[in-house]
Amino acid sequence: MTQASLGKSVVQKEIHAAQNNGVAANITHTQPLWLLAEVTYRCPLHCAFCYNPTDYDKHTQNELTTEQWIDALRDARKLGAIQLGISGGEPLLRDDIEDIVIEAKRLGYYSNLITSGVGLTEKRIKAFKDGGLDHIQLSMHDITEEINNFITNTKTFELKKKVAAMIKDHGYPMVLNVVMHRYNIGHIKEILEMAEALGADYIELANTQYYGWSLVNRNQLMPLKEQVDHAEAVTNAFRADPNNKMKVFFVVPDYFSDRPKKCMNGWGEVFMIVTANGDVLPCHSARVLPNMQFPNVREKGLEWAWKDSPAFNKYRGDSWMKEPCRSCSEKENDLGGCRCQAFLLSGDAETADPVCSKSPHHHLIEKAIEDSKNPVLSAQPIVFRNDKNSKKIIAGEFNDRVDEFHALP
């Protein structure tokens, strides 16, 4: 699982695109236009920045069946879902993605397979093409084999290049996602050049956001503000060159902003996730929030989940807000930021996102930035995302790494 669809990235892009002359200024509210199917938490990669829950090991044995996924796709489509992301973990570890793709096409989804490339064969990609899969988003990590293999804790560098060529050969648009962190952000120019050389149509440079495994590894992953500024300048220069046809999305890192992101374009506004075990969530990490019971597709249907469940209604609109958000003139811009980040860092799910400079907890972000520069802290080993570490985290063996957070990331 990459960080493709976190926060501003996917959801707001659609909003940006929709705010143009001749096009409806506002998207229809409270329709789950985007359905993310996190079909499995199993993954052959072990990325240090993965935003999947660190206790995912609990959910690798109780995955939804093919029939349950097909029912979920059908029900979400009735609610208005159009864009479908098939993600994970690594979705290709399931052998029924071909069936899911066929059903998605039949229902009229624009479908996207979000993959590391591991497990993509000629036979499978042909089946996806025949079945009507619309595009494939491939995660890439660096131009160097060393960093690719280090950050994913696997030897996948050559494979990714082969998969990129396979995607192109089958007539798919090539959409690359690169999660940016301390280890690759200095290579941004070379990464863009590599993507252009591979024939990419779109590239998403997603600065790491700190949830799940990436929060545990925050001190090890966070770049310097100067590195982020440099990366943005390089990106802008690339965009300004008329010879470059590739579309570049740059997802800004919220820790270095004064205002928080409008997370998911608002809670329960346009985005719905169904997780491997059937939980229905308004955002990727919502399960960290306290006193919340999220619906599950095995119990009541998606219509109830979206329209009526207490969880999806909890942070809709702004009536839940506290000061300083409640009376803030900018509250409509960001809706107070991310509830999960607010809770994880401050222990209060209804307070302003600490990223905001007006937040009473903003010092927590400043401290995190300072900690990431602390040579002792940043020299702690990375906790890679794997089953063994997930079991250890559940058992409390990494408490020293998660104690400062108010829930297990």
């Binding site: 929709a18 998207i27 229809t28 208005g80 624009y110």
Partner: protein, 102 residues
């Protein structure tokens, strides 16, 4: 001979005889739940106003801009001065990469 534009008062690169189609990897469809036409593409979508949808609906890879305009005027005889809107839609679609010249 100078090429005539549909609406000479609008300075535009869109010509009468041009043929446009949906850009590669883009899909156009009616959405029942939204009661509107949408264009879908990697990482995004746009919801179109009725008029914009009517323009794009007619692009089959063969019809010219003039054909589209004539057909829309025939279909919507009460709509006044729609030429500029039609050209505007082509211009927007091209600038956004939703359309390509065939």
């Amino acid at each position: 001979m100078e090429q005539m534009q549909i609406n000479p008062s609008v300075s535009s690169s869109i010509l009468n005889e041009d043929v446009y189609g949906l850009a590669f990897h883009h899909r156009f469809q009616w959405e029942e739940a939204q009661q509107s036409y949408v264009i879908l593409f990697p990482e995004g979508m746009v919801k179109l106003h009725g008029g914009a949808g009517e323009v794009i609906k007619r692009l089959d890879g063969k019809v010219t801009v003039a054909d589209v305009t004539a057909d829309l005027k025939l279909t919507f005889p009460d709509a006044v001065g729609i030429e500029a809107d039609i050209i505007g839609m082509f211009e927007l679609g091209l600038s956004k990469g939703w359309l390509r010249k065939i």
